[in-house]
Amino acid sequence: MNFNAETFDMDGIGEDLFFLSNGHISPVWYSVLARAGYFPVAELGTFRKLSSRLQGHPSTDKKLPGIRMASGSLGQGLSVAAGAAQVKKLTGDQGIVYTLHGDGELQEGQIWEAAMYAAANKVDNLIATIDYNGRQIDGDVEDVMSLGNLAQKWLAFGWEVLEMDGHQFEDIRAKMTAAKALCGKGKPVVIIMKTEMGQGVDYMMGSHKWHGVAPNAEQLTAALAQLEESLGDY
């Protein structure tokens, strides 16, 4: 991928592309983009403020380098990615198209329209990843609306399915490598990444209630005290 703000362009010809479909995790994405060199880390402080390029949900209209599609209204990113991947195949572009989805987002019907399309059309330069943390705003995904056997669903839709421990870097590297090796073989690839929301922060783990709530100053201090490696930036 091209991590240079100066040369970032919307078309991304010859590059790998990434689409964030669950746009509400924009703080994570912005943090990654800033540290990858797309914009100054200091600009992160403008998040959700008036006239900021860092909108509450990702947008293209403020011209923040790194973002190619607005997201926030859920379930649209897989279609967009399949379209971009389809064009890469049409033009002989070797780039791979990646997406990230929430698990609750998979309740949106459009995801499964796109899943059906990508398999039927052998969009095999597409790697979808799912943050399978089992939580959504109203409760546990299992209680709000169960996804059933998620791996079996993707298999039934004709995808290659990999499962990953989303907190183990070695497993992440191994599964990403495996996913890339599966590209070009006639099937789209999905990685179900098992994660824990609020991993490493005792009062956040095991609950859905922090899904849409930001910690206050006191809670933030308590959380960062438990995550020493992330303290440096703050």
């Binding site: 599609m69 926030g72 897989l78």
Partner: protein, 317 residues
């Protein structure tokens, strides 16, 4: 003024011919369809450019997302399905992935309005112009006949940004010259007059041409504007004509709420208050019937344009 009828065809066939021509001349144009290739007359493009044609199946939301994604890499996607499934069914996908994201997608919508006919109200969308013109970044085009639909289909490939192109099913007279140049946002003055300005779009342009002759017999000199671009609206054309005639009729195959008439009234109320009458469907769903039966029953026929013009003229006094 005499109008020469150059033939009779459906506007959707104009789209099909325009798309086929683009297939031959512009390698960046790709097309997507949601299981209505024959109805949209996209067969020729599909046959000649199988690698640039994408069958999305009966999954319109995904089709809009695919099209948005296909712009990344420089393609110009044309999506094709009925107007109802091109707008109402996929409004949020258009809003976020196309309009807000400023993607160069051409949403091509056939079978718009009552003239879809016998399939009935489930398919007869009369709100689509309103939905699309409310979206920032969206250009909204409603060509008047076969030739103009073909010309508009070709012209929008040169416009960078989202476009909603609306056309229909019934066979109607062709009166736009085959070599006419389509300019987005530039209205065509089809007839000059002094008593009333008729501003029409789509199939109502032909109905208004028919109305001109009847009005002439009644001693009313009507000016007729083909407002093929609803957004951006040709404000200059409206003001120049209404300034001369002093009253306006708007005519469209659409709901009164949200349509061309409302767009025109926004201009007049601010810039040049004068009587305006609306030929449009008044807060009602349609029903099954032949296209022409429906236009008569729902008040968007030739006689309705005549009556509206006479009323507008009478209100000037």
């Amino acid at each position: 003024m005499e109008f020469e009828i150059l033939g009779n065809k459906d506007t959707r066939s104009g789209f099909g011919e325009g798309l086929a021509e683009l297939g031959r001349t512009n390698p960046d144009v790709v097309a997507l369809c949601a299981d209505l290739t024959g109805s949209l007359k996209m067969d020729a493009f599909q046959k000649e450019n199988p690698d640039r044609f994408f069958q999305a199946g009966i999954a319109e939301a995904n089709m809009i997302g695919l099209a948005a994604g296909m712009t990344i890499g420089g393609k110009i996607p044309y999506t094709g399905t009925f107007a109802n499934f091109s707008t109402g069914r996929v409004y949020d996908q258009i809003r976020q992935s196309v309009a807000y994201s400023q993607k160069n997608v051409k949403i091509c919508a056939s079978h718009a309005g009552l003239t879809l006919g016998e399939d009935g109200a489930t398919h007869q969308i009369l709100e689509d112009i309103g939905m699309m013109r409310m979206l920032p970044n969206m250009t909204v085009i409603v060509p008047a006949d076969f030739n103009q639909t073909k010309q508009a289909t070709i012209a929008i490939a040169e416009h960078k940004g989202p476009v909603y192109l609306r056309f229909g099913r019934p066979v109607m007279p062709i009166f736009v010259k085959p070599d006419a140049k389509f300019v987005i946002g530039k209205a065509d003055v089809l007839a000059e007059g002094t008593d009333v300005t008729i501003i029409a779009c789509g199939h109502l342009v032909w109905k208004s041409i028919e109305a001109l002759a009847i009005l002439k017999e009644k001693g009313i000199s009507a000016e007729l504007i083909n407002m093929h671009t609803i957004k951006p609206l040709d404000v200059q054309a409206i003001l120049a004509s209404a300034g001369k005639t002093g009253c306006v009729v708007t005519a469209e195959e659409h709901m009164m709420n949200g349509g061309l008439g409302e767009a025109v009234s926004q201009v007049l109320s601010r810039e040049l208050p004068c009587p305006q009458e609306y030929v449009a469907v008044n807060d009602s769903f349609g029903e099954s019937g032949t296209p022409m039966e429906l236009m008569t029953k729902y008040g968007i026929d030739t006689q309705d344009v005549v009556n509206a013009a006479m009323k507008a003229v009478a209100r000037k006094a």
